[in-house]
């Protein structure tokens, strides 16, 4: 500091060197940075070459889609038999009742379309009145679904839930499981962290009981044992029984996912809101839950995705969900031998829904990431 000629001079900002940016640099850095990486890259390129083109050839180029019976597919064994899916599509998507009553098929189509019309604007960022849309989805949509798909009102004939099946059943089970289990799970998670010993004990017992029991067992119990506890003649609907079992099971998992988020919130947040004179529910709803749910979005959605796929377990109590329907169809005399196509289709539909949930959760995470948001 003694040297008075020492002056701070800001150096101008420069662009990074030319050879460290752009796609060539990216490929070099990521795929060919070392001998091992280069070798791995080459092995994978070879594997892709080995398996991808034949699959595309089978699934698309040589595939059969024309006709209405197996004769077309049997004549051209080198391609997939999408004719099977095309002919059985209604059954795979809507189940036996609607597939065998073509004049009723508008009902599940309307139900799915309304769902699509509600969910698409919810995913789009700039939609106004999102809160109301969400409320409609959670409150009105289930009512609409029951009225239209189950029927019994406005002269719509009742569809026997035992004949529900395919994607419709998978969807109904997961939708109920998700929207009922989320609030239940939040309450359980709060209960588990409660300072009131009895509330805490009950929440812990509930969570540990349902989490410690396999879903298959619960479904069996719901299907076989539940009727034993009720007088004969009281016959719970099989689908409703499955829904109850799935929801109770799912709420325990959701609770643990939410608890993870609650635990991550600094206790200073609670103290700051206490110091402002806010009561328990205001603190919880306005300060704690918005932050905790944001943190737990990945794990909550993870449990939703797991649930969506787990609904296929209902096949063991005789319900024909999407997967079971695909399996049954490909074992029918008409289409025997085309089970690969059936499974691929079912897998693809499952994937669309699960990937949709996953992408939406990632989008939500980014949107809610206020800590690092820069204007």
């Amino acid at each position: 500091m003694a040297d008075s000629t020492l002056k701070f001079k800001k150096l101008p900002d420069r662009d990074p060197p030319e050879n460290t940016i752009g796609w060539i640099a990216w490929i070099r850095d990521n795929l060919f940075s070392s001998t091992t990486n280069t070798l791995t890259t080459l092995i994978f390129v070879y594997l892709f070459y080995l398996y991808i083109p034949p699959f595309i050839e089978w699934a698309i180029i040589n595939a059969n889609i024309s006709g209405t019976d197996r004769s077309v597919c049997d004549a051209n064994k080198s391609g997939a038999c999408w004719t099977f899916i095309k002919v059985r599509l209604e059954q795979l998507l809507f189940g036996l009742y609607f597939a065998s009553n073509p004049e009723q098929i508008w009902r599940p189509i309307v139900a799915f379309s309304v769902f699509g019309m509600l969910i698409v604007p919810l995913v789009i960022d700039k939609t106004p009145y999102k809160k109301w849309l969400l409320l409609a989805l959670l409150m009105l949509y289930p009512v609409l679904f029951i009225c239209i798909v189950y029927g019994g009102v406005f002269g719509i004939p009742v569809s026997d839930t035992g004949q529900w099946g395919g994607l419709l059943l998978t969807f109904a089970l997961s939708f109920v499981g998700i929207i009922v289990a989320l609030p239940l799970g939040i309450l359980l998670a709060l209960g588990r962290r409660s300072e009131m010993p009895i509330v805490k004990m009950m929440s812990v017992t509930y969570i540990e009981f349902w989490r410690g029991t396999p879903l298959i067992t619960i479904l069996f119990m719901a299907s076989v044992m539940l009727p034993l506890f009720f007088p004969s003649g009281v016959d719970f609907d099989k689908v409703v029984r499955a829904m109850i079992g799935i929801t109770l099971f799912q709420s325990a998992y959701t609770a643990e996912a939410v608890r993870g988020g609650l635990q991550a919130i600094d206790k200073g947040q609670n103290e700051a809101s206490m110091a402002l004179g806010m009561g328990y529910w205001r603190r919880t709803i306005l300060i704690i839950l918005p932050q905790a749910l944001k943190i737990s979005i990945p794990s909550i959605v993870n449990t939703f995705i797991a649930l969506f796929k787990d609904t296929s377990l209902v096949s063991i109590i005789g319900l024909l969900d999407l997967l079971k329907m695909a399996q049954n169809s490909s074992r029918s005399l008409d289409w025997n031998g085309y089970d690969i196509e059936g499974y691929l289709f079912a897998g693809f539909v499952f994937w669309i829904f699960c990937y949709g949930m996953s992408s939406y959760s990632q989008k939500l995470e980014r949107k809610l990431d206020t800590d690092r948001r820069v204007e």
Partner: protein
């Protein structure tokens, strides 16, 4: 709070106590943190509490808005005694502002929303009214231009000033500061202290736990030194710094002033 109205009318002098603490004792488990604390805080009085870490100074001011529960003795804030009555506790808390070491702003709300949340939900103000009040106080702490940013985008000093504005939005009768500058970079301590000095000059009753002895010297009416859960010594700043009576105080002052 009936008693407040009753006690407000006859004695509105500057010496009427707004906080009365009597024989306060507190334990964390078996650890005796506060021992027989007696303290009266008068209206508009500024008190600085200092002491080594673990002396119980933060716990003491956290007892005043019941972020900590005491086991013995009594604390009367503005005529209301702190008991287990949740409603009463919330009423007292809404009248006692608090500023924390780590700001504890709500990261999911904008700066302005941080300020207006409690006025809207606790004071039942309309959004327009609350926004107006929020902007007024953000202007007072000199960051109105940051109102629509999120706390994470602000510097530590700015965040702490937002925290002060947030507490002031409740129009409190007392402000508690729990080491408000301890988590700040040296460059930012000054801006927060300046805000606090302005607040003190406006006549706010303040209890400040801090090691900023310059601030104590300038602002405090009384400096309290605590150690081992007890009030060791209290005096006006001039006497406190120039003629500390106890050996313990002398040692403490020599340690923090000569580093």
């Amino acid at each position: 709070m009936k008693s407040r109205a009753a006690s407000k009318l006859p004695i509105m002098t500057e010496t009427s106590p707004i906080i009365t603490i009597n024989k306060l004792n507190k334990w964390f488990g078996k650890f005796h943190v506060l021992k027989d604390i007696d303290l009266n805080v008068n209206k508009t009085e500024k008190i600085v509490i200092c002491g080594p870490s673990g002396s119980g100074k933060s716990t003491l001011i956290r007892c005043i808005n019941r972020l900590e529960v005491h086991q013995e003795g009594s604390i009367i804030v503005d005529g209301t005694e702190l008991t287990d009555d949740v409603k009463q506790i919330n009423e007292i808390r809404s009248d006692v502002g608090m500023v924390f070491q780590h700001f504890n702003l709500f990261p999911h709300l904008t700066v302005l929303e941080n300020c207006t949340l409690a006025p809207i939900w606790v004071r039942k103000k309309s959004k327009v009214e609350a926004d107006e009040l929020g902007m007024e106080l953000l202007t007072k702490v000199r960051i109105p231009d940051q109102a629509h940013k999120y706390p994470g985008q602000l510097s530590g000093g700015q965040q702490q000033r937002v925290a002060i504005a947030r507490a002031l939005c409740m129009q409190p009768r007392v402000m508690l500061f729990d080491e408000p500058t301890s988590a700040l970079d040296p460059e930012m301590i000054k801006e927060v202290l300046e805000t606090m000095i302005e607040l003190a000059e406006s006549g706010m009753t303040m209890l400040v736990v801090t090691h900023e002895m310059g601030f104590a010297n300038k602002v405090a009416d009384r400096v309290i030194f605590m150690d081992e859960g007890q009030i060791v010594e209290q005096n006006d700043p001039e006497n406190f710094f120039n003629n500390p009576k106890s050996e313990r105080t002398k040692l403490f002052l020599s340690q923090i002033l000569n580093h």
